[in-house]
Amino acid sequence: MTQHFTQQVTFYTEDHEWVTVHGDLATVGITRYAAEQLGDVVFVETPEVGKTFKKGDEMAVVESVKAASDVYAPLSGEVIDTNGELADAPEKVNDHPETEGWFCVIKFSDGAETKGLMDKDAYYEFCKGQ
């Protein structure tokens, strides 16, 4: 059953994605920590609108000067929008990873999946241990 979030809440994954949920929609990107680790981002392959993913599926690819890294779906659901601006301006992922550098919006199918995600404080502690 879909859980609706009446207030906007941001969660984090152990793969360094952020996911901001509001209603039954979730905006996804990679965290500042991840962007710094990757270095200069030169290309983002965002998922196609309409595609559905299970939590943990490979959903997008972010390419830095160094390497290609997979981005995993933080929640199960259907992609309803992607950030088209990244095609010409992938550096937004470095400059504003947690705002303008968003990857896609998912209409999620199971809000209970957010229980496995971290809040900001937990994620901060997690990064310290990396």
Partner: protein, 384 residues
């Protein structure tokens, strides 16, 4: 993204310096090495504009000496050169004192065991000894190969307990001439002996970036001091392996184990220029039959530059298609900061090797437009 490194890894004498500079360390060729300091892109661009200092002590510097030792007699050079020419297809006998040459170590079937730089020592009292630098990842097997093939005739003295560093970029010469007077007079692929803080060094005008620069072989303790001193110069920054790779890729230079290996002969790799005319005529190097056949009839596949025309990089392993048919594979690929776009190299069928030939690059299953491109992507800036 955990940054864990096995304890079995070797450390170069500059390891402490890398740590103090905040390097991100990764395993590479059996060593714990800095992959980046400030970031691949800024380090890359810095090297092209100023001077970058690279620790390449993981590589395989060595000396190969006649069993009976060195001599003032130039005939001793001819003798050691003749031995090495049993293993490589380049003319070593004709090297002048202080001259270096890129060559390849060949198998009996013409496959490439390694690429290496062989230098005749500049000191005319040391005829009969060659300075050789092989790749770090295969140095033990290369040295075993020398010892086996030249058993009882020559001695291998490994020098990988020393520091081997490269100072690369247009400002390298101005920085280094204050430490090694006379190095500014060396031309590309020439070497001199020098002393620094009482330590004997070999300074070679060569590198792996396409830029002017030097490689310096220096004993460990002096090397630590020299590296620290060079880094105090505002024109010099430390550069990691990440930028080393993007610099050499833009310069069209091969990485052993990726762009060539024992399955490739020098003609396919487009390194036929390392085989001088005298050696072609004598046809007395390992795999000569295969290599000379490829030279006269043309290779089946050829190494070429590949330019992805979209923004997605085509990395190693990307299939190259023409009209839906697989015609080759990318062997090195990534983003070129100086080109400001993706660059790659790889192999294609020889009839498709002409620059400008349109290809499709199968990036994660999707065809992306690309074309065969002339190498290098960035003009070489050597001191001729």
């Amino acid at each position: 993204m955990a940054n864990q490194v096995s304890e079995d890894l070797r450390k170069t004498p500059l390891h402490g310096l890398h740590e103090s500079l905040g390097a991100k360390l990764v395993p590479f060729a059996g060593y714990e090495m800095p992959v980046q300091f400030e970031g691949v892109k800024p380090e890359h661009l810095w090297t092209r504009e100023h001077a970058g200092l690279f620790d390449v002590s993981h590589m395989g510097p060595c000396f190969l000496t006649l069993r009976e030792g060195v001599s003032e007699d130039p005939a001793a050079h001819d003798k050691i050169a003749a031995m090495v020419e049993e293993l490589v297809p380049s003319a070593i006998a004709t090297l002048k004192p202080g001259q270096a040459r890129l060559t390849v170590l060949l198998n009996e079937d013409g496959g490439i065991r390694d690429d290496l730089i062989i230098t005749r020592l500049p000191d005319e009292h040391q005829n009969g000894r060659l300075y050789i630098v092989v790749n770090g990842a295969v140095k033990d097997q290369d040295w075993a190969h020398f010892e086996q093939k030249l058993a009882g005739r020559a001695v291998v003295q490994r020098a990988d307990d020393r520091v081997l560093m490269a100072l690369q970029g247009p400002k390298a010469v101005d920085v280094l001439k204050d430490e090694f007077a006379g190095c500014e007079d060396l031309s590309f692929m020439r070497c001199m002996l020098a002393a620094w803080g009482g330590a004997e060094c070999l300074i070679s005008r060569c590198g792996y970036t396409g830029e002017d620069g030097f490689e310096i072989l220096i004993p460990a303790a002096a090397g630590e001091e020299l590296a620290a001193k060079l880094l105090k110069d505002e024109r010099v920054k430390p550069i990691g392996l990440g930028a080393r790779d993007s610099l050499r890729l833009e310069a069209g230079l091969c990485l052993y184990g990726h762009d060539m290996d024992t399955s490739r002969n020098p003609v396919e790799v487009d390194l036929q220029w390392v085989i001088q005319k005298s050696r072609r005529e004598r046809a007395d190097f390992p795999g000569a039959e295969v290599v000379l056949e490829a030279l006269s009839n043309g290779p089946k596949e050829k190494r070429v530059g590949i330019r992805p025309l979209e923004r997605a990089p085509a990395r190693e392993g990307t299939e190259i298609h023409v009209n839906g048919e697989a015609v080759g594979v990318v062997t090195s690929g990534g983003f070129g900061p100086s080109v400001d776009g993706p660059v790659a190299m790889g192999y294609v069928r020889a009839d498709l090797a002409e620059p400008g030939t349109p290809v499709e690059l199968m990036v994660r299953g999707k065809p992306r437009a690309g074309e065969v491109a002339a190498l290098p992507f960035v003009e070489h800036n050597y001191k001729r």
